[in-house]
Symmetry: C3
Subunit: 403 residues, 3 copies
């Protein structure tokens, strides 16, 4: 793995043009979450996915449909019309489209031009999300939908939400791939100086990136102390805590998080005394400077206690609200500093490999010169054997955090 | 007449670049309504007409004046100043302009530079509107002001209003030249499935376009049933209804509408038992994506009943509010789909000829290549004898509307 | 001095492209007021100065600091973080910067890249303002900070404020260099027809421009009648009034204003019976279309009467609120009339020489062709001996103002 130590100014990997965060910089051949399952009804829902304006709805039998959101005739957004049975009726002149996007009625025309259609998009429902494939339909395979199964697995319980963030989707990837920021952004909830203190390992391979951090025998932060007490009915002073971040390109991140009473064997694989959650995240680019950020939090204990579900969902929503503020401010700064670059630190190892996998996907779709160099690195990464890098806290960290 | 059947994909007339709806695409040598008569007082009124920022006012004797709205000296909008007698005083340094736009006072100058002036525009008051000519003043002939005489004819009574629509003015022309949309946009008021059902005829000539639709022996829609009852004191089950749309380039449309008890001779010319109205419309481009839409509704019965005037004005205002929503959404969609085209259906025959007459006016003013091809068609249309095309409802229409 | 009479249409000096008011048109090598002294505390204050986004704060010992407002790592505005002692902590990943902008902590890095820094700006506190030098630090000499000493001179008392105006800073210079506008913009407070009536003299030299206007034996306007009564306990019917405007490039203007009972010798130098104030103004370009406008009003009588301080500050704030409205409208008009020019009148003599000194500073910093011609004139002006031009009111002025 190339050094990404911030001390090495001559390293090509060190700098990234922040300006790329203001470009149309996502793969089209990918499944993107377009809606939470409960959002989609027998009604027209407009939504922008990967730069495309779509109208979504469910047919009477529940099948989800995604169509281009502009009438073939005069471009009125179809979402301004209404459904009649399973067809969309344009709200202007009554042209009707079936679920495949084919026009099935035009006023006063003896025949219907076979070219009269709006584009329909591959769509599939999985893990409580409705996914859309904005790219080449021939390549759309629902088996490649990112794994967020914890969101509807009977062994897990939870809930989530949708945030429309005014930032490039890759800034959210950055944010989630390095949890060092918890100490500074989320000090009052999940943040804890031990997050910045302990080492973590970055493992990358062709299929994804994993960042693993174990904090052994530490004070539990409030968010986790509370959950351990819910489960066991009493408080614990010391816990073993884990954060294992799984990235799946281009923009899905499942984070395995939890604590167990210290010394009960969690690091060795026995989590039976602990509480475990998955923070599920998938980001859908809307435009270069905006994304839909779908998230959920699932737990594996007290599954039927709806009060816990609500408390955890509201707690995580509060934490993500803090991130949203940072992400919005970061994007504004990028927009007003088009010449400035990003620099990578050791803590950005996970994000850097995630970025390479994303760039590899984009490079595979075309000959965009911006991605040519990134692509070489990315292909090398994708072909290489999984490898692991360890990032350690330093004396400076310990002094800084008083630990 | 070229086929505009949507089934003929190879027809050049079929497609129009929606992008032209985002351009400066109006003739300058034309009279445009700038204000309702009652809006204009002995006070400064800023208004944007055909891309020009103007200040309007009436002199003490009522004469309307239109001047460029930026002081010669430092560009402060003159509308920020005030009137002294019939002169505009700039609100910054007190420069004064007379009604011809000539500077008649400058502070501390022995002489006034004869070049010190703001442009004045030909202006005339007619049919309860104040009209401005933004183009070559030498060509401005008040006799060519579009005919909306019903708006102040003693045989007619009515009232109207002004809507600032966030769309290109030609989208309103489109809207008014085909009333098929009534069925879908105005279902609860004037809309009626018979509008989409019966055939209509499009007649075009060098001076305008007329679209004629007669609906014989039909149920009266609520808007008309009400009026017939006002006039006769009783309800009628069946009526003969007409819609005769007169387009006068570039953007004035007078629609002769009404109903008479079925079989009383209205189609043959005897409207004596009916109620007749004129929907008067004239659109003034403000910018490529915005226009002032002046409208009125005049009737020829119960002229002194002010209650009817108010009810009809409010009713039509409600109908046009529905159009406004559609038009705003359509323009937003055009703006976010710069590569998409408009397609014409048979129902767009009137709008298509109207567009050709507009393009012909623009082409006559310059060598804009965008209008070169349109201009050939338009000139051909303008030179040709009036011709008529008939558009019929189809089996599909009848099935669709359950008729 | 070249004629600037508006009657001379062929004079090159007559016209100025208004478009230059929409450009990045300020010298970088200059001191600009960044904050009022009381605004700056031991806390992070974001502010845009000369197109640069800065974060300002005071160290524990009161020393002011100005840093670039974007973290070296991921560009989050540092103003979103917090202070720890005298260091700025980034609110995202905790990078810390000292007052020189050097990064002194990075999480998990053994060494800190010496290139890891944000730019720090020369900063100094003087005359109750905190000044920043956005240009070449080697040239920053606090001795060249513009003279606004009345703002903290024990012989003077006063207070002021900050207005964020949505206009180019040079429009405010224009506004302040010619007080003829008082008659039209501030008629109800300080405006008086005698301001437009009496002659004034413009003196220009390499170091600045002075505009002098004496109004002898005139009615005192309300603002000044009130002050004379505060000082003497009685009203005076006739006063000698003065306005002496001192411009210091690029954007500081101190205006010596006052009245004395008529005939008590003020024009000859004995102001002992009068009341004297200084209107202090310094404008900081924020962007081409916006500036920070810092102002104060200081007086030399009844120094301990805080009630007078408050009344005068509120009175001047009201007057400047009227200017703000005009300036905002003027900038909007410039933006929507990119092809229109400014024309100079005799009354613009002071503003014209001020503009030449500004242009000379910009020209000295680079080879911007836009300023090449201006620069020749400006250098000629800067090298020439001070010279004076007299601008007189005319018969037309007298007739216009009824005097």
């Amino acid at each position: 793995m190339a050094s990404i130590d911030g001390s090495s100014g001559s390293d090509g990997a060190l700098r990234e043009a922040a300006a790329t965060f203001a470009l149309t910089d996502w793969p089209m051949n990918a499944w993107y979450a377009a809606a939470y399952d409960v959002e989609l009804k027998h009604a027209l829902l407009p939504r922008t996915i990967a730069g495309r304006s779509l109208v979504l709805y469910r047919k009477g039998d529940g099948t989800p449909i995604a169509l281009e959101n502009a009438c073939w005739h005069r471009l009125l957004p179809l979402s301004e019309g209404h459904l009649e049975d399973d067809a969309v009726v344009c709200g202007y002149h009554g042209l009707m489209y079936n679920g495949e996007g084919r026009c099935v009625f035009m006023p006063s025309q003896q025949t219907i031009n076979p070219a009269a259609r709006v584009r329909s998009y591959p769509i599939a429902e999985r893990h409580r999300f409705v996914w859309v494939w904005p790219g080449d339909p021939a390549l759309a395979d629902p088996d490649t939908i990112p794994d967020l199964h914890w969101n509807d697995d009977p062994e897990w319980a939870g809930d989530g939400g949708l945030i429309d963030v005014k930032c490039n989707y890759k800034l959210v990837v950055d944010n989630l791939m390095d949890l060092t920021h918890e100490t500074f952004v989320h000090g009052s909830s999940i943040g804890h100086r031990s997050v910045a203190e302990v080492p973590f390992e970055v493992t990358h391979g062709p299929d994804g990136v994993t960042v693993t951090r174990w904090m052994l025998d530490v004070d539990p932060p409030p968010f986790w102390a509370m959950q351990l007490e819910w489960r066991h009915g009493r408080r614990f002073d010391r816990v073993d805590r884990w954060q294992i971040i799984h990235f799946e390109a281009p923009s899905t991140i499942a984070i395995d998080v939890g604590v167990a009473p210290a010394g009960t064997g969690a690091p060795q694989g026995d989590r039976s005394q602990g509480v475990n959650g998955f923070v599920l995240n998938t980001m859908t680019p809307q435009s270069p400077g905006a994304c839909h950020y779908f998230w959920a939090f699932a737990r594996n204990y007290n599954l039927d206690d709806q009060r816990i579900t609500t408390l955890l969902r509201d707690g995580v929503a509060g934490v993500f609200g803090e991130d949203e503020e940072v992400l919005n401010a970061q994007q504004r700064s990028i927009d007003s500093n088009p010449d400035k670059q990003f620099y990578n630190l050791n803590i950005d190892g996970g994000a850097m490999w995630a970025r390479r996998l994303i760039d590899s996907m984009i490079a595979a779709e075309g000959d965009d010169a911006r991605y040519a160099r990134a692509s070489e690195q990315a292909r090398a990464a994708a072909l290489s054997e999984p490898a692991t890098t360890r990032v350690e806290a330093t004396e400076a960290d310990r002094a800084r955090l008083g630990i």
